[in-house]
């Protein structure tokens, strides 16, 4: 616990995150460039879906991110609730807008993929509906967070909402198995061999890891801003700004 509090001290974290972000940003660019190159130029067209399947390289990682970020947000919220660590509060709050935008991206690209393949922009299918609910959970979280003035109370209330909404994550994941959906079942399963050719799996995973590193990059940038704002009364912030000017 004492380590958690040392490394979770806002001052230490501000400096540490500042050193880390340029490296994470560079890594994001490398991963996404490699993923795009393999996905758009090297991977062959699909024998059933032709070129349209290339939407997958955006759609699937975006959908994974929408769930991963939600899990991070709820997990950080729980830690903040139990141990009262300010840094986790800030992390949770800053997950929400990024997660909401990835959810939007998953829904929009799904729609753009559904139109040519299914003949419809939207269907009230279990997978699509549960993902839409996830989007509304993010929006609800952000509205609640923004509606309470005291940041600590706002974080606690929002964390409870996030934790309740966690039930939706397994529902999204298993929706294609539990219900007879229009949406296709998973191609990349954690257990066993994935039913997708390596030439298509490689760009998919590169894009997914790229999105993940991107998420941490922008989350750290957001947190640094919030730390400065919240710690404005402290001497270290005053010193930091004085040294710059």
């Amino acid at each position: 616990m004492q380590y958690l509090h040392k490394y979770a001290s806002p001052k230490f974290f501000y400096v540490f995150a500042g050193k880390l972000t340029p490296w994470l940003a560079a890594l994001t660019v490398l991963l996404l460039a490699a993923g795009l190159y393999l996905g758009l130029f090297i991977a062959p067209a699909d024998y059933q879906q032709g070129e349209s399947y290339r939407i997958m390289f955006i759609h699937v990682p975006a959908a994974w991110m929408s769930m991963f970020i939600y899990a991070c947000m709820a997990g950080a919220g729980a830690i903040a609730l139990v141990w009262n660590v300010k840094l986790f509060e800030m992390f949770a709050a800053n997950c929400a807008p990024v997660g909401a935008s990835f959810t939007f991206l998953a829904l929009a690209t799904g729609s753009l993929w559904g139109k040519p393949m299914w003949g419809a922009w939207w269907a009230w299918d279990a997978r699509l509906t549960s993902e839409l609910i996830l989007f509304f959970l993010y929006i609800g979280y952000m509205s609640l967070e923004a509606s309470i003035d005291d940041p600590r109370r706002a974080a606690r209330a929002a964390a409870i909402v996030a934790l309740v909404g966690v039930v939706n994550i397994p529902v999204i994941h298993f929706s294609v198995e539990w219900w007879n959906t229009l949406h296709q079942p998973a191609s990349v399963s954690k257990m066993g061999t994935p039913s997708i050719h390596p030439s298509m799996l490689a760009p998919l995973l590169l894009m997914a890891v790229g999105f993940t590193v991107y998420f941490f990059t922008v989350a750290l940038m957001r947190m640094r801003n919030e730390i400065l704002e919240r710690e404005r009364h402290t001497t270290w912030v005053a010193q930091l700004l004085e040294n710059e000017s």
Partner: protein
């Protein structure tokens, strides 16, 4: 893109937009926060008794 150009490029375009927006927002916020903080500290110093 075998007749699917519109759908594929719209998807990649949207992805680019989402990535750029999420990068732009914290950068803009950083500028605002710093400007406000400099002002805040200047005010705080000028209000302190004993300073000039």
């Amino acid at each position: 893109m075998g007749g699917y150009g519109f759908y594929v490029w719209s998807s990649y375009g949207l992805a680019l937009l989402v990535l750029l927006l999420n990068l732009y927002l914290p950068l803009r916020r950083r500028k605002t926060v710093r400007r406000l903080l400099h002002e805040f500290l200047r005010l705080k110093r000028s209000l302190q008794p004993g300073s000039e």
